[in-house]
């Protein structure tokens, strides 16, 4: 290209800063010299403005545009080079600026519309939509919408500005529905006393919303745990402390079940071996629980062998002891027993029909020494007379006087008053009572010199009540003799061998310490769940699924043959206790859970929250809203 095109007298400055370009040029025609005006009108309709000099029109075309033209101005002074005006076009730079404005305006318009119109009403997508809620939250926030969580939602601009400078405190809105076993905004929902200061926690630290239908919870890795926990480590293998000493058998079993003797002795016994379970899962229900594996019920597990033993162990409420002399007023007796006149004759010499000692129960109730007939002679005979007169009432009175809350009803449940009266009448006459029928299914019965209770089977309520009674009265006895008698009675009733029903053979008795009332003994009637580690997570099922039912249990639960399991049950202290099984240590888990095998992050075994749940009213509200919707 010839450079002289750009000679100072050939061309003008190129002015890319101007907003318009020649419309003719945009159609690939020769552009005019002048170019468009700044206001976008065509500036090239004529080449010059001729000047009238000495009555002659002179061309005024600039030199760089070719100088005066050949034809010169017309006679009227008009330029001879006239063109129809073009339509100047915007330059790319201007178009670019407009596009920027357009793009920004579209965004602002969409934002504006989303502010003004509710997306549902407007029927269009809100540009401010932060994203879909999780399924559950979407349901629960249907009614209140965004304002459920966002305080500033739907408020005016003033509130917005305020919101910018204040804490939106989203977490406080979470606890409108959610609740925990402890403070909501403390670490682990627990009032721990951390060694170092840990600020309040917030739900949004881990829980995010607007991430679609799935819940978005931040996975906690060891780093997050380590940020608070003093004992820092990365995995079970590296740094996790050894499990505590008795893990996981911290508390004494509520049921004395010696796995050792059963597995090694009894189940091997050919007499009963057909009743023995084939494996652990014969007694333990692994599919129902995660961490705790309960034994199956008594009926399934124990009854086959142990049911018959219960009925054999009876309670003796009263035994007519050896008496020194007859101290019963004959008239009263006759009247009470409604004996036919003459049938009752006075004996010349009193010879006690019984040579036994009084029963421990009645000894306690009457507060009499069981070995001194001189002393108990009178109270026993008074009682017999009273029984003859009022049947079980004197017993009931005696029992009720022992405890604050009357227990006689439970204790004497099913005691036939007529039988009792007849027996008393016999005994009043210093005769043995002959029972009309044998008690086969258990219950109260009177036989010869005794009032006895035969347990009806497992979980007999009267037997249970008597154990409770014995435990209750053995405490807080002021009088020394009486206390001794209460303990003697208690020991008899609680005796695993002789006690009524033999309950204590299996049910553990523990001393329960209570600062208010003082310690007392309690029988573990039920299988007690001893879980008090709310942050630990373990699923038996998953493990057994992988390891198989056969060897699965013994892989971790190894029977300890050395231990005298039953020894500790002889005392009432539940803490000083050794399990049948060897304690589980880290090593046990690390058979599989080393870093090279199945690594364990903190969250695999530990839970963060303490007893997470929903608030009741929230559920009610929801239920209402559900019921109102057809």
């Amino acid at each position: 290209m010839e450079d002289n095109k750009f000679g100072h007298d050939q061309s003008n400055y190129e002015r890319p800063n101007l907003p318009y370009r020649c419309g003719r040029a945009s159609l690939w025609q020769t552009p005019c010299n002048h170019g468009p005006e700044v206001d976008g009108t065509c500036g090239g309709t004529q080449e010059c403005t001729p000047f009238l000099k000495n009555d002659r029109w002179e061309c005024r075309r600039e030199k760089r545009f070719g100088g005066p033209c050949e034809d010169g101005p017309g006679s009227g002074g008009e330029c001879s080079i006239q063109r129809p005006p073009c339509a100047p076009r915007s330059t790319l730079r201007i178009i670019r600026g407009r596009l920027v404005l357009l793009a920004v305006s579209i965004v602002l318009a969409l934002i504006g519309t989303s502010l003004v119109l509710d997306p549902k009403v407007g029927g269009m997508v809100s540009i401010s939509d932060a994203g879909p809620l999780s399924k559950s939250h979407a349901k629960f926030t249907e009614k209140e919408g965004c304002a459920t969580c966002h305080i500033a939602y739907g408020q005016g601009p003033v509130e917005w500005i305020k919101a910018v400078f204040s804490n939106s405190d989203l977490s406080s809105r979470c606890v409108n529905c959610h609740s925990f076993g402890g403070p909501s905004f403390k670490a682990h929902n627990a009032n721990m006393s951390p060694d170092r200061k840990v600020g309040d926690t917030q739900c949004v630290m881990c829980h995010r919303e607007h991430n679609g239908p799935g819940m978005s919870v931040r996975a906690l890795f060891s780093d997050q745990c380590n940020s608070c926990h003093k004992n820092k480590f990365t995995s079970l293998e590296h740094g996790h402390p050894e499990f505590s000493k008795k893990y996981p058998y911290f508390n004494r079993n509520s049921i004395k079940f010696d796995h050792g003797s059963h597995l090694k002795k009894h189940f091997e016994n050919p007499k009963v071996s057909d009743k023995a379970p084939g494996s652990c899962i014969g007694c333990h229900m692994i599919t129902l629980e995660d961490r705790e594996v309960r034994p199956s019920s008594y009926e399934i597990v124990c009854a086959a062998c142990h049911d018959s033993q219960i009925k054999k162990k009876e309670l003796i409420l009263l035994r007519l002891p050896e008496l020194v002399q007859n101290r019963i007023d004959r008239d009263s007796l006759v009247q009470a027993c409604n004996f036919p006149e003459g049938n009752v004759k006075e004996e010349e010499e009193f010879l006690s029909v019984s040579t036994e000692q009084p029963a421990l129960v009645s000894a306690f109730l009457l507060n009499i020494p069981e070995d001194d007939p001189e002393i108990y002679d009178q109270p026993i005979q008074d009682l017999v007379l009273a029984m003859a007169e009022e049947s079980s009432v004197p017993f009931a009175e005696l029992i009720d006087s022992q405890t604050e809350t009357p227990m006689s009803e439970n204790l004497l449940m099913g005691l036939n008053p007529e039988v009792l009266k007849r027996a008393a009448c016999s005994w009043g006459l210093n005769r043995e009572y002959e029972s009309p029928a044998e008690v086969r299914f258990g219950g109260w019965y009177t036989d010869m010199l005794e009032i006895r209770y035969k347990p009806s089977g497992h979980a007999d309520p009267v037997v249970k009540s008597w154990l409770e009674f014995a435990l209750a009265v053995s405490l807080n006895q002021k009088e020394e003799d009486k206390a001794a008698r209460a303990i003697a009675m208690r020991d008899q009733i609680l005796s695993a061998k002789d006690g009524v029903g033999g309950c204590i053979k299996c049910h553990a008795v523990s001393e329960v310490k209570n600062s208010k009332v003082g310690s007392h003994l309690a029988v573990a009637w039920k299988y007690e769940s001893k879980s008090d580690s709310p942050y630990v997570l373990y699923k038996h099922e998953n493990h057994i699924e992988i390891l198989g039912t056969k060897g699965a249990c013994s892989n971790c639960h190894i029977l300890n043959k050395e231990v005298d399991y039953m020894a500790s049950f002889k005392e009432y202290d539940p803490v000083n206790w050794v399990s049948n099984f060897e304690f589980i240590s880290k090593k046990t888990c690390m058979q599989c859970h080393s870093e090279s095998q199945i690594d364990l992050e903190c969250q695999k075994c530990h839970l963060y929250h303490f007893k997470p749940s929903f608030k009741k009213d929230m559920l009610v509200v929801k239920a209402e809203s559900v019921s109102t919707t057809p």
Binding site: M1, E14, P16, R21, C22, R24, A25, S26, L27, W28, Q29, T30, P31, L92, I95, R96, L99, V100, L101, L102, A103, V104, I106, V107, L108, I111, V125, S126, I127, S128, D129, A130, G131, P132, H150, A152, Y153, W160, A163, V164, N167, S168, L170, T201, V204, M205, C206, H210, N211, G212, R218, F221, D223, Q224, N226, S227
Partner: protein
Amino acid sequence: MKIQQGFSLVRIWVYVFFGTLLFLVTWIWTYQIDSTLGISAFANGWILFGILVFLSLFSARKRLPFLPLASSSRWFLLHVVCGFLALFLFWLHIGGMWSKGFYGQVITILFYITSISGVVGLFIEKVYPRQLTRSGVEVIYERIPMEIAEIREEVESLILKCTEETGSSTLAEHYLETLRRYFQRPRFFINNIFGSHLPQHWVRQQCMILERFLNEKEREYLDKVYALAEKKRKIDFHYTLQTLLKTWLLVHIPLAGAVMAMVIWHLILIMVFFV
């Protein structure tokens, strides 16, 4: 005096180093905040916002050539480095490549298109100038219509002259049939984008097929027409490449504006509803 034939390698590496450093620091910071259960999106979000503001300030810088705001070439280099940095920070911020909310998705799409257009722009800005130089002509974009009109007029007058002088209308007919369209406006736009040799071939072909029908005198005119056609072809090439060099910004800048508007709204929403 040294003439820079490009940005100093040292400077590029320094910028890349600091860009990487900033990213790593942000990354580590994010990780640290995540470790302490903080909300890391605030930290890397503000940094990302700062970078985005800086990126858009490049446009402002271009409007303020009279202020001592460091040279535009430094800004450009930083713009490129920060552009890539922004992309990585963006991924760090949204924790992946794709956002879940509708608003986030719109920003993501716009941001991606802006980024891609930026990368494409960078690519053509580095490739096309050399091609333009090699074309052998140099023409100011605004003058292309004038140049083409001038060539056309010249060609047409040549053809008229040829017809007058030789009395043969072969060249004129061929011009009217085929070449006129070529000289009308820039052609072969798409071919030129990819540096195709088709236009060159076409021009030569159109003149070649005519040769056997012309006499010596006419051939002289044909040679002149061919020279002008070649010149026009080069100008067409300039037109295509310069058009692209200018129009990629029509995508990049408006979308960048939209992204910034949305980012600011995002910031407002976060401040109002979340913080």
